[in-house]
Symmetry: C2
Subunit: 206 residues, 2 copies
């Protein structure tokens, strides 16, 4: 019968995914080696074949962990903000809260999806789940605001705006630019709440 000595393996596995998550974000997936991860955790290279059988296996676990944490983040936003517009502001605010990381390493979701898309990596679909998580959640908020017809387009639009801000801020390393664009996005959200929006007109006339 199994003893109670199993938490160790889960702990080590968690440490590996955690370290890999951070390194994948800071250096990119392709430029992070087993040695990097092993060194960060403090175990030997061969050791974590007990936990993961390939690099892609680690990637899958990392993405799964990010999906989990993103779901928790979205739930936290729902808990701390009651109205749809407030929740949408939580999303935009994220750009300011994570500004130092964005300037240094870009958006965690965008840079990962971008890299995997360029490599035509099988895990792209899984990573896109992160984008879809935000997309669906944003869509729900726009629906709750009464923008049912254009909710999905608005969600994608906002998602792309945030991605663009992160991408340019990352390349140019400009803090001021992030602040200015967040201001723009907040104003845009307010305009959306007031409703007579450009996207509504665009969608209606198509």
């Amino acid at each position: 019968m199994p003893t109670a000595a199993t938490p160790d393996i889960r702990r080590t596995r968690g440490q590996i995914t955690e370290a890999a998550d951070r390194l994948f974000y800071e250096q990119g997936f392709g430029h992070t080696s087993f040695a990097d991860v092993a060194g960060a955790v403090g175990i030997s290279r061969g050791n974590f074949y007990h936990h993961f059988k390939s690099k892609d296996d680690i990637l899958a676990a990392v993405i799964e962990g990010r999906l989990e944490r993103t779901r928790a983040l979205l739930q936290a936003w729902e808990a701390q903000a009651c109205t749809p517009i407030e929740r949408l502001h939580c999303f935009v605010q994220m750009l300011l809260d994570n500004q130092p990381h964005i300037l240094a390493h870009g958006c965690p979701v965008g840079t990962l999806c971008g890299e995997l898309a360029k490599l035509d990596h099988p895990a792209l679909e899984q990573a896109n789940g992160l984008l879809v998580l935000f997309r669906d959640w944003l869509r729900q908020q726009f629906e709750a605001m009464g923008r049912t017809a254009e909710a999905d387009a608005l969600a994608l639009h906002l998602l792309a705006r945030a991605q663009g801000v992160a991408a340019v801020a990352h390349a140019l390393r400009s803090e001021a630019f992030v602040r200015a664009e967040v201001y723009e996005l907040q104003a845009w959200l307010t305009a959306q709440q007031a409703s007579g929006s450009s996207l509504a007109g665009a969608r209606a006339s198509t």
Copy 2:
């Protein structure tokens, strides 16, 4: 005295940069090896150390070539469109013209700058020159439209919007999304021409 037998070396060098340019775009810089480039050109691997002394050397030549072609592109836009608003539409139209490539490999400028930024590669600054080229040109158009005070902010904003569209379209591989966002951008440009813009207000109140 040198004979007229020198065009060969320039031709080979051009072939290498051309092939490297394409492969860097399709596969990313980090995931393209010398063997890939050599194979594409049809020469042996050791051979092009006569032309470039390192991989970073090739990267520098590729970026230089892209800068050159970007300048030519901007000049062509100026030639084919006389008014600032028409020229800005040229920029937005680029998203539609290059749509298949964007869906498959992302924006050439954005994906390169993103990769180099993540690697903290010395060539990032040079690659950012591509962004700056667009930024300055766009700024000039907004200035010519009479939006002098906010011209640079508007230029960066438009640049980021385009980057966001390309990034999301690349990850999700969605053609419809590009079309919808281009429509939005065209509407936004029209609104900018009419002037009373959100960015003007935002900038004034900061």
